[in-house]
Symmetry: C2
Subunit: 469 residues, 2 copies
C-alpha cells in the first residue's frame, strides 16, 4: 500500500477504513474464480460522507475506484484490474436499513444491506421485497441495482430497476446526489436514477436506494410438471398468463438432463414424478387474496394442458416443505452442473415466444461445435431469460472443454442474435463481456454510452475496464 | 419560410414534408392557450429515415427542432419559442403499428400512433395496452413516452416508462438508434432508453417504441363511495391493497366541491349517492380471472370500511353503462372546473401516505393566500399524484385570479416540498416549470442533467427552452 496517497492514508487510517491486509485477498478475486486483480487498498467507508471523501481524494489523486458489494458478480464486475493502481471500495459497512414505510410500501436501504436482510426486514413490516435469486444471501442492494439483477420473480415484479424509486449516489467528483424519493410519479427532468441502475459502478457509487415493497401473498402454490417439449412449456405459460396474469410469481424451465444432474449430485433432491422426462417446468403461483383458490386455478389450467398433450404429469406442492423441495430441484442446478464437470454459462434472453427455438437451436449448434456436449438450459422462461449452459462431454478433460468457452459462447450468441435476443440478460457485462459490446451495441448506441461516460466521469476513475470496451 | 435552408426546402418540398402554411398555426400554440410560438416550418416526415434526414439537415444548418406529437402537453412542452428560428417536427404521419405479438405481449408502434389507436389495436389482438388518461384520443405514443405520461392506471400498470421495452430514436446528429428490443431482461450497458423517456424531446426524437401489453381483464367492478375525510380515503385504499393488491386498476380521490361542479356543469352527470359529502373515491377493480369475484371482494372491504366509519355510502356499478357513468364524474372534473371559472392547475405528487396532509395543508395555505379560493383537489390517490387545482373565488375577476397563478403554484409547491413530494408528477416540465428546476433539482442533479444534454446534443438544437433552465 506504499503507493497510497498521503491524503487517503491520513483520512482513512485513523477512521479504520483501511482493511487489514489479510482481509484484502477475497476482495481481489471474483467468486467464480474467473478473475484476479490487485489494488492499492480496500476502503471500507461506513457512511455516505465517508464514501464521498474517499471518492473526492481518489479523484484528486487520479486513483481508480472499484465499487464492491457482495462480490457475487457472475461477470467479474467488481474485481479490480491487474495493474494494482486502483482501490476497491467496499460498501459492506453501509448496511443500515434507514426506513421502512408500510403505508407508502417503501424501504430505504444502504448499499451494503444484504438482499436477504432486506427481504426479512420487509417481511417484519408485513410487506414483501420480491427480488429473489440464488445469491440473495450474499449479494447487496448496491450491487443488485448496479447490475439490475433479475432472478426468479421478474415475470411478476420486474427487475431490480423496476423495484427502485430513488437513489443516493456519490458522483465521480465526490458530489453526493440525494435522489432518495419515494414517489410513483415524478417527471422532473432526465431519469438519472435509471442511468446508474445497470451501470455497474462506472458512473458513480450507489450508496443507498429507496425500494418498492409489495403486499405479502397470503396464498401460494408450487407446481412441478413434466411437459412434452419446449413448445409445450411455453404453451402452459400462456395458459396461466391468460387465466391469471398476476398469479404467476415464477415460471421456470428445466431440461431432463439438468434435473438428472440435480437428482444425481444433490443429497435430498429427488424427482417428484413417477417418470423421467426430457422437459420440466416449475410454476410458482401467489396471490394476496387469501381466497384466491390457486389450487383450483392450477387444476383448471393443468387439466386443459394435459388434455392438449402439453403437460405429461404434474405434482402440486401442498406443504411449505414440499414447495421448498420442488424449488430446490431448480435452485440446485448450478451446483449440480458444477459437480458433473466443467460447464460454460450463457446468461441470454430472447423474446418469450422464441425461447423454445433458442433452446433447440443453441443446443444443436453447440452439439455440432463439440460432439457429445451436454446442453443443460434452465431458467426464467416467463421472462425470456434462459441460462443456456453447456456441460462438457462425458470423459472430456475439463480444461480442454473450458478452453473452448469462447467458441461456445459465440455459438450460443449467434443463435441469440438471430432470435432478436440479448447476450446478457441479468448478469451484466462486467469484464467477461466487454469485448462483445462493440459487435452487439456498437454504432450510435455505444457512441452515446461513451459520451455519457465521458460527461459524468471525465477522468475515467469509476470501475475502469468494465461495461465499455 | 424564407429563412429555410435550401437543403431543407429541397429535401422536403418535393417529398411533401412541408405543411401548407394554413396548417401551421395549430402547431404553434399549446391547447391550453398558455403559449404561442413561431417556426420556420412544420415538417411532417413519414418515416424514420425522413426524420433522420430532417434532423441531419437542421443540425448542419444549426436550426432548432421542436418535436410534436398530439400537442396535448399541459406544460407547453411541444410549443416552439417565439423567436421563429426553429422548426416544428410533427410525428403525426408516422402512425403505423409495425407489429403486435400476442405471445410476447408486445406492440411496436410509431411515434405518431394515437394512444386510443394503440389501445384498440391491442384489444383486437385480445391484449391490453393499459395507459389511460383524458387526452388519450389525441395524445400520441411518442409524446406519452417523451413525457412519461401517467394517468389513471399507474397504480396497477406503471407509467409510460414501465410500459416501454425498447425505442427507436433519431439522435441530435441525425444518427438512428434502433433499440426496438422486446426483451424483459437485457443488461448490456447504460439504459439509454430510460434517458429518452421523460426527456421531452430535448435529447433526440423518439420515432417508434416497443411497448408491453397485458392480458385483458375478464372481470371488473367500479365503486363510487363517499368517505369521511382524506384519511378515510387513504384507509380504504390500504384495505383494498391488503386484500388484493393486483385488483386495483385505479383509485381516485375527488373533493365534494369538485363533484358538485361536475353535477352542476356537465349534462348527464348526477351524484349516484343519496347524500352529498365532502370527499369521494372511485375504485376501479379488475382481474384476468373470470371467477375473481370482485363484487365479493368489494363488499368485504366496504363492509369493514363502513364499520370503521371510513366509508359513508357506496354504489357498485353493475352494467358497463353504469361504470362509464361513475367514471364520467371523475373524468369531467377538468371541464367542470373550466366552466365554473378560472382555475390554476397543480400536477404534484407526494408519498402515498402524505396525500391527506397534502390536500388539507395546500388547501388551507391557498385559502390564506386568496380568501374565498376554492380548492378542488382530485386524482390518482393510489400513486400519490393529486391534481391540486384551485378554483377562483366566486365573483372574482378571472383575469385577476389568473394573475396570481404563480403565487398559487408556489404556495402549493411549498407544502409539496415539506412533504417530500414533486412539483411535477405526470405532466413534466415543458416551458411552464423550467424556472422551478433550479430550486428543486439544482446542484449535483441539474449539473448531471446539463452534462448529459451537452454530451448528446452539444449544439443544443433539440427542443430548446424546455426542461432545463
Amino acid at each position: 500500500m506504499s503507493d497510497l496517497p498521503d491524503a487517503l492514508a491520513t483520512l482513512l487510517g485513523p477512521a479504520g477504513l483501511l482493511t487489514d491486509p489479510a482481509d484484502i485477498a477475497p476482495a481481489l478475486s471474483d467468486w467464480r474464480g474467473l478473475y484476479r486483480g490487485a489494488a492499492l487498498a480496500v476502503l471500507r467507508p461506513a457512511s455516505t460522507q465517508q464514501v464521498a471523501d474517499c471518492v473526492r481524494i481518489c479523484a484528486e489523486a487520479g486513483i481508480a475506484i472499484v465499487p464492491q458489494g457482495g462480490n457475487t458478480s457472475m461477470v467479474g464486475g467488481a474485481t479490480p484490474e491487474g495493474n494494482g493502481r486502483s482501490v476497491v471500495l467496499s460498501l459492506a459497512r453501509m448496511n443500515r436499513i434507514r426506513d421502512i414505510d408500510a403505508v407508502d410500501m417503501t424501504m430505504t436501504a444502504e448499499a451494503g444491506v444484504v438482499v436477504k436482510a432486506a427481504q426479512d426486514a420487509a417481511a417484519e413490516a408485513n410487506c414483501l421485497f420480491p427480488l429473489s435469486f440464488g445469491g440473495e444471501g450474499t449479494a447487496m442492494i448496491g450491487g443488485i441495482l448496479s447490475t439490475n439483477a433479475g432472478g426468479n420473480t421478474t415475470v411478476r415484479y420486474g427487475n431490480a430497476r423496476e423495484l427502485m424509486l430513488g437513489l443516493e449516489v456519490v458522483l465521480p467528483d465526490g458530489q453526493v446526489w440525494n435522489g432518495l424519493r419515494r414517489l410513483r410519479k415524478d417527471n422532473t427532468g432526465y431519469a438519472l436514477r435509471h442511468l446508474f441502475v445497470g451501470a455497474e459502478g462506472t458512473l458513480g457509487i450507489i450508496t443507498a436506494a429507496t425500494l418498492r415493497l409489495f403486499a405479502r401473498p397470503r396464498a401460494s402454490e408450487v407446481l412441478f410438471c413434466s411437459v412434452a417439449d419446449e413448445d409445450a412449456a411455453l404453451a402452459v405459460f400462456r395458459r396461466f398468463r391468460e387465466a391469471d396474469e398476476t398469479a404467476i410469481r415464477a415460471f421456470e424451465y428445466m431440461s431432463g438432463l439438468g434435473v438428472d444432474f440435480a437428482v444425481k449430485h444433490i443429497p435430498g433432491v429427488a424427482l417428484p414424478l413417477a417418470q423421467r422426462a426430457d422437459h420440466y417446468i416449475l410454476v410458482d403461483l401467489a396471490s394476496t387474496r387469501a381466497d384466491a383458490d390457486l389450487q383450483g386455478l392450477a387444476e383448471q389450467v393443468l387439466g386443459a394442458a394435459m388434455e392438449a398433450g402439453e403437460v405429461l404429469d404434474a405434482v402440486i406442492g401442498g406443504s411449505e416443505a414440499r414447495r421448498a423441495a420442488l424449488w430446490r430441484i431448480r435452485e440446485e442446478h448450478p451446483e449440480a452442473q458444477r459437480k458433473e464437470g466443467a460447464s460454460v454459462k450463457n446468461d441470454v434472453s430472447v423474446p418469450v415466444s422464441k425461447v423454445p427455438e433458442l433452446i433447440r437451436r443453441a443446443s444443436a449448434a453447440c452439439g455440432r461445435l463439440i460432439p457429445g456436449i451436454r446442453p443443460v438450459p434452465f431458467g426464467h422462461m416467463g421472462d425470456g431469460n434462459i441460462h443456456m449452459n453447456l456441460e462438457q462431454p462425458e470423459g472430456m478433460d475439463p480444461a480442454a472443454f473450458l478452453a473452448r468457452s469462447h467458441d461456445i459462447m459465440e455459438t450460443v450468441n449467434a443463435v441469440v442474435r438471430e432470435l432478436d435476443g440479448s447476450f446478457s440478460a441479468e448478469h451484466g457485462i462486467g469484464r467477461l463481456k466487454t469485448d462483445m459490446m462493440e459487435s452487439w451495441r456498437g454504432g450510435a448506441e455505444l457512441d452515446a454510452m461513451r459520451r455519457i461516460k465521458a460527461a459524468l466521469d471525465p477522468t475515467g476513475i469509476m470501475n475502469p475496464g468494465k461495461v465499455l470496451p
